[in-house]
């Protein structure tokens, strides 16, 4: 079975965000980009699935030349092939998902893994959208997965517990931390990944349905008061919470 993994290339979570000159996106100067943390779980699950059921793992990323770094990381972990869907324009999630769906279709991948969200725009919707455009089933925020033939039993994280979902292939699974422990790339894997040719094609273009008008920094919260340095400050703290903040 052909298995696809879609990955994004995002600013490191330790990055301080500066607003760019366009006032609509971040200033990429001095920003370190990494493989989206949740996508590591997606790659690991794809590799585990391949080891169990056989097949081939293809990594797809839509974006600029630099996305190849994240594709190579997936190849170093053990993915078979990489595809860069070249695109430098502004895309909303719908347009992105349509382009991914086209590529997944042309690859004939019946099982697709993605991170549950990219830590840049935090949308958490690309998996579900792409599944809809493909007519695939989809389980999001998955922390436990069993595939038996065509059948899928997936546990997804919800408020106060987990839902056990029954569905079937073809499907997209979006992966949450806890699903697995992503492997480290071996030196051999890293060397092999360097030699692999990443296929490049232009991403298909679709109309955006939404646009960012403006990006702002959140209103700075002003530092409050340090009301003491031991338990003698506790009665005052409780009074403030009750009478000033009115939160208890």
């Amino acid at each position: 079975m052909k298995i696809a993994v879609c990955v994004s290339h995002v600013p490191d979570t330790a990055t301080k965000i500066k607003i760019g000159n366009d006032a609509k996106s971040i200033d990429p100067t001095d920003v370190t980009y990494i493989l989206n943390p949740y996508d590591e779980f997606a790659i690991e699950e794809a590799l585990k699935t391949k080891e169990k059921l056989g097949g081939e793992v293809v990594v797809i990323s839509l974006g600029e030349e630099t996305n190849k770094e994240s594709i190579r990381k997936a190849l170093a972990m053990g993915a078979d092939n990489g595809i860069l869907l070249k695109d430098s324009g502004i895309r909303d999630s719908l347009s992105l998902s349509k382009a991914l769906a086209e590529e997944i279709k042309s690859q004939g991948a019946q099982l697709v893994f993605m991170g549950k969200q990219a830590v840049d725009y935090d949308n958490s919707i690309t998996g579900q959208l792409t599944a809809e455009f493909l007519g695939y089933n989809c389980v999001s925020v998955v922390v436990n997965l069993q595939i038996d033939g065509e059948n899928i039993i997936a546990e997804r994280e919800v408020e106060g517990g987990k839902e056990v979902v029954e569905t079937s292939i073809p499907a997209i699974i979006t992966c949450q931390k806890g699903l697995n422990e992503p492997r480290y790339a071996s030196l051999k894997g890293i060397m092999a990944a360097k030699k692999k040719v990443i296929e490049e094609k232009n991403a298909m273009v679709f109309e955006n349905k939404s646009e960012v008008l403006q990006m702002n920094k959140p209103l700075g919260k002003q530092a409050g008061k340090i009301i003491g340095n031991d338990s003698s400050a506790v009665p005052e703290l409780v009074r403030l919470l009750k009478e000033e903040a009115k939160v208890i």
Binding site: V164, V165, E166, I226, S231
Partner: protein, 319 residues
């Protein structure tokens, strides 16, 4: 086509969730601003006190009924809600940004080929446009989003839109049976964590970090949480160390939360943690290191020893 708002309500174990009151009120207020109709839809078996959603400005609610749909089914919920949207000609769809809403809303958007903005914290109108504000980069920045398609889908962050005082008003209920739901994806079981509140839903969160020194000391965090009827949260450091489950992690690779009160115990305030909780309405930090970044966003701080201060706080609250 005139505007019409549809609010998607959510039930769990047949009870309407609190987020549904918030989304209803937000929908009602938006309908007043843009001068249009608003109604609601809910899927489930028997639902308790459904007409009370009228207390939050909803005049009419369609109950899509099937006992098999008490639990979530992405396939069946998507199909039925899209049908009702088309039937009543709604073009503005409001959903709670919950586990269910986050899963369902994009599917609806895809079927309608509608633009979608998720995790919205503010909705404003200007010259016939709806502008939604939402956090990105886990709250390190905010974006204003405009949807250009005629149909628009928004998910609203829990605990942000104030449902206000409820007013006595019963909504009209229209029951429609769903005869043969599409169950190609369905929840067959819900595994509940033992009676614990979830950080994503709690109005008070007590979180612990490295400063707790060892896993056993989280008993103190749990005790304080119990006194306040709060959820227990954790920093990434202690989750990565295996002290606490990932479901409790607050921050950029955990959950982004906005409770009324966030109490940080022994958390220094790494940028990725601050990003996940900075929108809390009131932040209390207790930490030995008075230079810890957490104090820069805390409303109230005690720069002292957790193991001395927290037991005193528990005792004071129990008084």
């Amino acid at each position: 086509m005139p505007n019409k708002i549809l609010v998607v309500l959510e039930q769990r174990d047949n009870n309407i969730k609190k987020i549904s009151n918030e989304v209803s009120k937000a929908g009602f207020e938006l309908s007043q601003k843009i001068n249009c109709e608003v109604e609601a839809v809910i899927i489930g078996g028997e639902i308790n006190d459904l007409s009370k959603i009228g207390n939050f400005g909803i005049g009419k609610v369609t109950h899509l009924k099937n006992i098999e749909l008490t639990k979530y089914s992405s396939s069946a919920y998507t199909k039925s809600i899209v049908e009702i949207i088309n039937e009543i000609n709604a073009n503005i769809i409001l959903v709670g940004n919950t586990s269910l809403g986050k899963d369902l809303a994009p599917r609806i958007a895809a079927r309608l080929d509608a633009g979608i903005a998720v995790d919205v914290i503010k909705i404003e109108t200007s010259e016939n446009n709806i502008v939604a504000t939402r956090p990105v980069y886990a709250g390190k920045a905010l974006i204003d989003v405009k949807i250009n398609s005629e149909k628009k889908v928004f998910t609203l962050r829990p605990n942000v839109f104030n449902p206000g005082e409820s007013i006595e008003n019963n909504a009209e209920i229209i029951v429609k049976e769903i005869s043969s739901p599409d169950l190609s994806s369905k929840v067959i079981e819900v595994k509940k964590s033992e009676g614990k509140l979830d950080v994503a839903e709690a109005s008070i969160i007590v979180s612990g970090g490295r400063g707790m020194k060892e896993p056993a000391n989280f008993k103190l965090v749990e005790e304080l949480a119990e006194v306040l009827n709060a959820a227990v949260g954790a920093s990434r450091a202690v989750v990565d160390a295996g002290w606490r489950p990932h479901s409790e992690q607050v921050g950029q690779t955990g959950k982004t939360v906005s409770p009324n009160l966030y109490i940080a115990l022994g958390i220094s305030g790494a940028i990725q943690h601050l990003a996940g909780m900075r929108s809390s309405k009131c932040i209390v930090a207790i930490n030995k290191d008075e230079d810890a970044p957490i104090f820069q966003i805390a409303d109230y701080g005690i720069a002292g020893d957790i193991f001395e201060v927290v037991p005193a706080l528990i005792a004071e609250l129990k008084k």
